[in-house]
């Protein structure tokens, strides 16, 4: 609220027909099933927000409070966000681009992925709406985040995941004492079941009936990138696409910062990255259409991106096209190479989705879609410790020796090293 008590966050609004709804746990328009989005009073926000005001606040995603859809103060995940923006000069040289930054959400708090951003908003709103049980449909990272943040807040939680997820992601939910339900079938089946459960029981599904609140949390990645660049929008941003929501919300974040006078209007492009084994959005972009053909059986090591029926695919395509962005897709081998490139040249260990983003950025630069004399920010969304299976045996072997100097000298030490030691 500002001083005149006008709420910054006024309504939910159908993105298709513009019909307004109350700020309840609903996510689609009754008339055309279009997505409901948070609507704000930007005039009120403009009077409250400023660079100085933001800089005076704690270094968390909640420093952009005016542009997030809750009524009071955040009660869940108040410490989330404000992850490093790393200038990656060695990776820039390797990919052949003038300037490259990594938005490093592998170290987001508390569960090492960007999902803590969306969950913080969704569960804070869930508490405001009085939910006692929260849940989600997840490809892994979201499940970890819902489980952890619900545990911290004292909410009961259920996380529904495809049965074949990586061990790290399953354990990374179980440890918090949540109910982990593995579903026989791909993510899209998990999603449908969750829609059916949400329609029948009064649970707060963060990415179903709480989705309008949840999705807005992703904007904070875009806000932080602008602030960390010295209050400006980067020329190119590359984001991984599963549902396509993150990319559309980064696009929205840049536009909102212009609208409320925080950054100057500037030309920018958002580009999308997918795995070839599940690339419905990238393939639609490449075909020059906005009709997203669903993928019945996703098949990729980038399981966190394996959504065959992406909810925001249509909007992601429009965001990329409007800004002159492109979309690429990469094979499993290219994903592993992407993970290694990022690790060896920037010291950042990303999960498979990060490998997708780096490998797609490499292609976008090579094709000239991102010109070599410009700058790009890569959104790296989750930690590599969660998807170790993907690179096991593909990045060198442990070398074993006895604890003896002779063994060391005979098997490890290379006399050439002496010159540089």
């Amino acid at each position: 609220m500002d001083k005149s008590n006008r709420p910054f966050f006024s309504n939910l609004k159908c993105r298709e027909c513009g019909k307004l709804y109350e700020k309840k746990a609903i996510h689609v328009c009754e008339y055309d099933f279009g997505p409901l989005e948070a609507a704000y009073d930007y005039d009120a926000i403009r009077t409250s927000i400023s660079r100085a005001a933001i800089e005076s606040r704690p270094q968390t995603m909640w420093r952009y409070r005016e542009l997030l859809p809750i009524d009071g103060e955040p009660t869940v995940g108040a410490q989330v966000g404000f992850t490093p923006l790393v200038k990656a000069d060695r990776l820039a040289a390797k990919l052949g681009i003038k300037s490259l930054y990594i938005k490093n959400d592998t170290v987001n708090y508390p569960t090492l992925s960007f999902k803590d951003r969306v969950v913080s908003v969704a569960l804070s709103r869930a508490c405001e709406l009085g939910f006692k049980v929260v849940a989600c449909a997840s490809t892994g990272n979201l499940a970890n985040s819902v489980a952890a943040n619900a545990a911290a807040a004292g909410l009961k939680s259920y996380v529904l995941i495809p049965a074949d997820l990586e061990q790290g992601k399953v354990l990374g939910s179980l440890v918090y004492g949540t109910n982990v339900i593995g579903i026989h079938g791909p993510y899209d089946q998990v999603n449908r079941l969750c829609s059916e459960i949400a329609g029948k029981y009064g649970w707060g599904f963060v990415n179903v009936n709480l989705r309008p609140y949840y999705a807005e949390g992703s904007k904070t990645m875009g806000f932080e990138i602008c602030e960390q660049l010295g209050w400006r929008i980067p020329r190119h941003t590359v984001a991984p696409m599963a549902s396509g929501s993150l990319l559309t919300k980064i696009h929205k974040a840049y536009n909102e910062f212009v609208k409320v006078g925080i950054v100057e209007d500037a030309k920018f492009s958002v580009h999308g990255a997918q795995a070839t084994g599940c690339a419905p959005i990238a393939h639609a972009m490449q075909r020059g259409t906005d009709i997203v053909k669903p993928v019945p059986k996703p098949d990729t090591i980038a399981k966190s991106l394996a959504i065959g029926t992406p909810a925001d695919g249509y909007y992601a395509i429009h965001a990329m096209r409007q800004t002159g962005g492109g979309a690429e897709d990469v094979t499993d081998d290219e994903i592993v190479d992407g993970i290694k490139l990022l690790a060896e040249h920037a010291g950042i260990f990303a999960e498979t989705a990060g490998g997708v983003t780096v490998a797609c950025a490499k292609k976008l630069i090579a094709s000239g879609k991102i010109p070599r004399d410009e700058e790009a920010v890569l959104c790296i969304t989750g930690h590599g410790l969660k998807t170790q299976e993907a690179i096991a045996g593909k990045c060198g072997e442990l070398r074993l020796i006895k604890p003896s100097l002779r063994d060391f000298e005979e098997q490890i030490y290379n006399p050439d090293m002496a010159a540089t030691a």
């Binding site: 996510h27 689609v28 328009c29 055309d32 999603n191 059916e196 179903v208 992406p310 909810a311």
Partner: protein
């Protein structure tokens, strides 16, 4: 008759029922009979061109009808037809 799961946004038209029965040998017929029982449902589900709206998914026993035979997908008496908003997840 096939059982049809009704999503929340349509329940004002189905007297708040979350599940209803509707006759029909294929999805198109089931949805047509749903409209007869609950007038208004059709224009919510179909766009002006007669296609299922962009943001709606229809499944038969958990299978997306776009991977089957669309509106011609056959349904049996014990089958479950599910109408859900596409905008979930991710």
């Amino acid at each position: 008759m096939p059982n049809v799961l009704i999503p929340t946004p349509l329940r004002k038209l189905t007297n708040d029922l979350s599940e209803v029965s509707a006759a029909g040998a294929n999805i198109g017929e089931v949805l047509a009979n749903l409209e007869r029982a609950f007038p208004g449902v059709k224009e919510r589900i179909f766009d002006e061109a007669g296609e299922v709206r962009r943001f709606i998914l229809v499944h038969v026993n958990g299978e997306d009808i776009r991977f089957l035979d669309g509106l011609n997908t056959p349904v049996g008496d014990k089958d479950e037809v599910s109408i859900t908003p596409a905008l979930a997840g991710g």
